[in-house]
Symmetry: C2
Subunit: 337 residues, 2 copies
Amino acid sequence: MSKIDDVAKLAGVSKGTVSNVFSRKRPISEKVQKRVLEAAKELNYTPNHIARSLVTKKTMTISLSMPSAKRISLTTFHTNLINGVITEASLHNYRILIDTLAQEELELPFLSGNVVDGVIVLNPKVDDTRLDYLTKYNIPAVVIGEPSAKYKNLVSYVDNNNQEIVEEVTTYLLKKGHRRILYLNAPTKMTVSKVREAGFLQAFADLGISNNESLIHFKESLYEDPSQYGYDTVMKYFAADKDRYTAIIADTDKEAIGICRAFRKLNIKFPDDVAIVALSDDLVLSHELEPPIPTVDMQAEALGKTSVQMLFHQIKVGDYPEISRAVVKAKFHSREQ
Amino acid sequence: MSKIDDVAKLAGVSKGTVSNVFSRKRPISEKVQKRVLEAAKELNYTPNHIARSLVTKKTMTISLSMPSAKRISLTTFHTNLINGVITEASLHNYRILIDTLAQEELELPFLSGNVVDGVIVLNPKVDDTRLDYLTKYNIPAVVIGEPSAKYKNLVSYVDNNNQEIVEEVTTYLLKKGHRRILYLNAPTKMTVSKVREAGFLQAFADLGISNNESLIHFKESLYEDPSQYGYDTVMKYFAADKDRYTAIIADTDKEAIGICRAFRKLNIKFPDDVAIVALSDDLVLSHELEPPIPTVDMQAEALGKTSVQMLFHQIKVGDYPEISRAVVKAKFHSREQ
DNA sequence: CTGAAAGCGCTTACAG
DNA sequence: CTGAAAGCGCTTACAG
């Protein structure tokens, strides 16, 4: 690879001038610029970003710290979120480094070593080594979702209006006349399950309706296959008494698919016998069901974009990042005309 | 951030010694090592990877050049493939940079600038700017899938045994007595479609069976939703004559889902009236269908792992990378006992 | 608008 | 087993 000196020599200018032709940090006369570019082209020169980073202290890279045990399982929600992150980052000429927990356990290699300018943290845990590290070293970071109490005041985050949206969905069902609703909530381990539970209960309270005959079922976290989980859970609650509940709120759309499968098996008609609403929208899956069920779009792409905007803000601010919050509103699609 | 000089001073040794404590490139005595590590801990020192990369010429990063128009759409195949790539890369302490075509169009920023040591290229195109660039600059690269003729002898790649596997599936159907098979193949644009077509025809030839009543339908590339595509295509071919074909080979499992939906609509029973086989296995989706349909596992994770191994081989070899090939065998699951 | 020189934080022969 | 010094390829005040 040719380097900046080679180009400078061939173009008959100084290294500084060549540098500025490429970085546009200061104006260079037309003629000189042309000469430099021609020399660069002839030598197949392309600036070495590593050398640049060493002096500018910017790597133009952010990392996306992904949820994962052994294997990453990307839902549509994640895919959309990643799209948002990439789109927004590209806009600022930033690159994305994938970071997984498996790697984090080794040595937190991406957070350290000045390899990235900031990090987007997905699926924060109650005790989160990543957040410990990031806050300790004051590295710009934005969490997507709600961090546990321990970190809440130490780190920026963007989250959905989870309480509101579950309240909206529940209210929708209650107003339709449903009184026995089964809510398949997230596992208790996830902070979001409590927030959503509150929304569920609030809807009943607001309308002065008793929730005695309804039930919140928290997911057992051992389930790997969400569809199978939906299927099994419906079997458990409906096999003995098909009329026990008149509506289900599913935590994810894949769960909803399993629920529908169970209903077909049990010969329960939806939405006539039992209404279903699924949180988190999936273009492909929603087509599979007839009729299409109401879903909630968590706006994953917007979450991704917002997180990156917040991160850039922190990166600019510098050594003493401001803690900030943002809320991305989910959208309920009732599928009604 | 403290730097290597600070640690050296505090520990009373030279920078070189500190460097070697962290890189383990040459043996350091126990005592000195201990002193250095203590000093590093006290100063919260962590080596600057950027500075290291500048001299070693290794970034310990490879990029994954993803297929994407405007938005990335990650199928299970991609997710599994990415898992393979990450797993294998982590094993060698390598990081993964996500690269999208959208970004490539800007300035090929990840390929250039010595930011990565090599790249994994997904979904090669007939004319592929990425491959033009990579071969021109002699950057280590491995394509997943079959590159077009133009690049075939210039770049390493790993692919499935596409001809064989489609031949196997077709033979399976023919031996079951099917004579009128509809094969929903990939779009003609994709090189894989021709290879698979050959496998399909070979099966007929080997058994001396005429393919006159069978049909290969190449996907129109304008379809975005694979499930909808499967649905529409079945409607087109079966609506008028439910008995036209007795078996379908679907290109993807999402397609198969749409096909099943169409069959339910048309009141065609599968596999009794029409047999279905889907290429590319998806854990979640295969559960949705009753009975489960035969599928082909393309071994996406193995493809990912192999590509990384091949890439590392090239990176080690250095300036004149050897071109190599590998085949990952797909696995047919007939779902029979 | 341009040049010369110092410096970013490491690693690596070389010498001992 | 350890140290002193050169150098990786850039950018950036400083001076003109």
